[in-house]
Symmetry: C2
Subunit: 367 residues, 2 copies
Amino acid sequence: MRLTCSNVDLLNGVNIVSKAVSNRTTLPILECILLEAEGNYLKLTGNDLEIGIESKVIANVEKTGSIALEAKIFSEIVRKLPDGEVLISVDSNNMTTIKCENSEFKISGQNGDNFPELPKVEKDKHFVLKQAVLKDMIRQTIFSIATEETRPVLTGELFQIRDNHLRLVSVDGYRVSYRQAPLSVEREEQEVIVPGKTLGEINKILSSDEEDVYIYFTNKHILFDLGDSMVVSRLLEGEFLKYENSFFEDCETMIQVNRRELLMSIERAALITREGRKNPIKIDITGDKMIITSNTELGTAREELPVDTEGKDLTIAFNPKYLIDALRVIDDEEIKIQFISSLNPCIIKPVDNEDYKYLILPIRLNG
Amino acid sequence: MRLTCSNVDLLNGVNIVSKAVSNRTTLPILECILLEAEGNYLKLTGNDLEIGIESKVIANVEKTGSIALEAKIFSEIVRKLPDGEVLISVDSNNMTTIKCENSEFKISGQNGDNFPELPKVEKDKHFVLKQAVLKDMIRQTIFSIATEETRPVLTGELFQIRDNHLRLVSVDGYRVSYRQAPLSVEREEQEVIVPGKTLGEINKILSSDEEDVYIYFTNKHILFDLGDSMVVSRLLEGEFLKYENSFFEDCETMIQVNRRELLMSIERAALITREGRKNPIKIDITGDKMIITSNTELGTAREELPVDTEGKDLTIAFNPKYLIDALRVIDDEEIKIQFISSLNPCIIKPVDNEDYKYLILPIRLNG
């Protein structure tokens, strides 16, 4: 194998595929990046057997071939190379030379044939979204994926196609996060469960602008095609929680409130609570006033803020972290919150559409 | 005690004095910030008995008094307060109310009289510098303070007044870092040893602009007066290393080189070494060419760069970390490096003055 390419393009590709490289594994080849030279590009691949990422770098290929290089040292070298054309060449003993300007490295690689292939995903079922939209949807739901493995499906997110929308849903036993976006072309109803780790990694790669991402899936795998890069992940098997019925429509109390003011007030009241101890904050809605209080061995906090209220006065308590997580990811200035009673969950929504819904269980107040 | 002050000024003061608050201590009051209201200001103090920091915040004092508040919760509250005037009031049971706009906290404090006083430093011996100059001098020497306690004086830096200059010197057994700056007024010869921890903390507080810092010292303590804030630290007792004779004048080989190019080349060559194993990099100076190589079980690296050489060709090896540490803090574009032989240290200097000198011991090459 022998090729030249730009150091900037190479670094970009290495940064992308590194996200799928295993850190600790019993299979040392998974700690490598696979380099394959063919046609007019260098294809880089990282694969930890759960998630695989491939990225293509434009290259002037003098001799095709492949090599697997230890990802840590290879990416450190690429990161520090001087500006210029990089020459990569591999001899018959897998000794790899990386040369750029007056810098030259020689490191030993492994036969590329030993690197596990990415799963093949048939490209018949698919849909397309703007990368920026998917990136937002993931950011706005990923925080409530279950971290405990007691129900493995809940360590992933539901990708559901319904009514010509893509819906992302995550559930951790205390809350449900729901976000939807319209699809440009009509698709049949579908649902798959994507592991949280995959979503965390792909979110780092998705761009924040107008480029598209094509999403393909089978029963076992999902493929995100970003143009120059491609992410393949296994899916989680099993039945997701039937979340639809949790979102009640009729409520006894509904408030409209400034998101940022509410977030700041809850963050302050939460200073007096200790996360580990699950001290609640108490919310009193009385007419057009919301009073937030907390009271622990550290002291007391009291916050007051104006709200627009429809319906009954109410007293309810929450783990402040759950409210903070949801309020932080919403982009709207004004939001609606619906309540039934102090024993039922609340639902946080936009003022005038159904693009997102956050359901949060309350904490029962003593006495 | 009862006063009002601006939330921004209060936060600034709290951030400064927090640097002297103890994290873990057997004396719980040292985990507090002392608040004292008198005249037209609120004085904040942190003190871990090694270093003490005092900062004054302009305040409208309605009732003088003092209180010690747990630093962690107090600083979190101050950081999150809404914009506006903050009211702090303390009742006879040390219950402290912190109020700002529609936020109100009540936390329990401790009697301010129990907080240990800062040492008094007589203000007879002193000198003055621009804060930005002292900040640079510390940054450019602090990295070679000894971390091992085998010779306690070397865990501090020498502050030495000689020839109407302030000199800062640190030594860790493998290298000497030396930096000097002229004093505006003539001072008698003096020297004290300031603990590394103190320098690390004061460096965070020193501003990067034209303000002065007044430095006072006794046999036991040093005081940095920054105007609104004041840092007092104990000094280290004992005799510092006689560093002067280490800096030889006559050399066999002298090169002039671009600092950034040399730094980048050494950083790249060091990728192949592993810090823990102390693999050296080898430097060959042949005419006007410098070749840097490293060779370990990971592979090999080779760098070539142009230098202006006076004197003999030379082969010498170093721990790359020591060269990198020095080259990173130097601001000049071009530097001089002097050598005697492969067994003697090298000295890195400016091209045309004596403002800094870095001495680094070589590693003996095998064979």
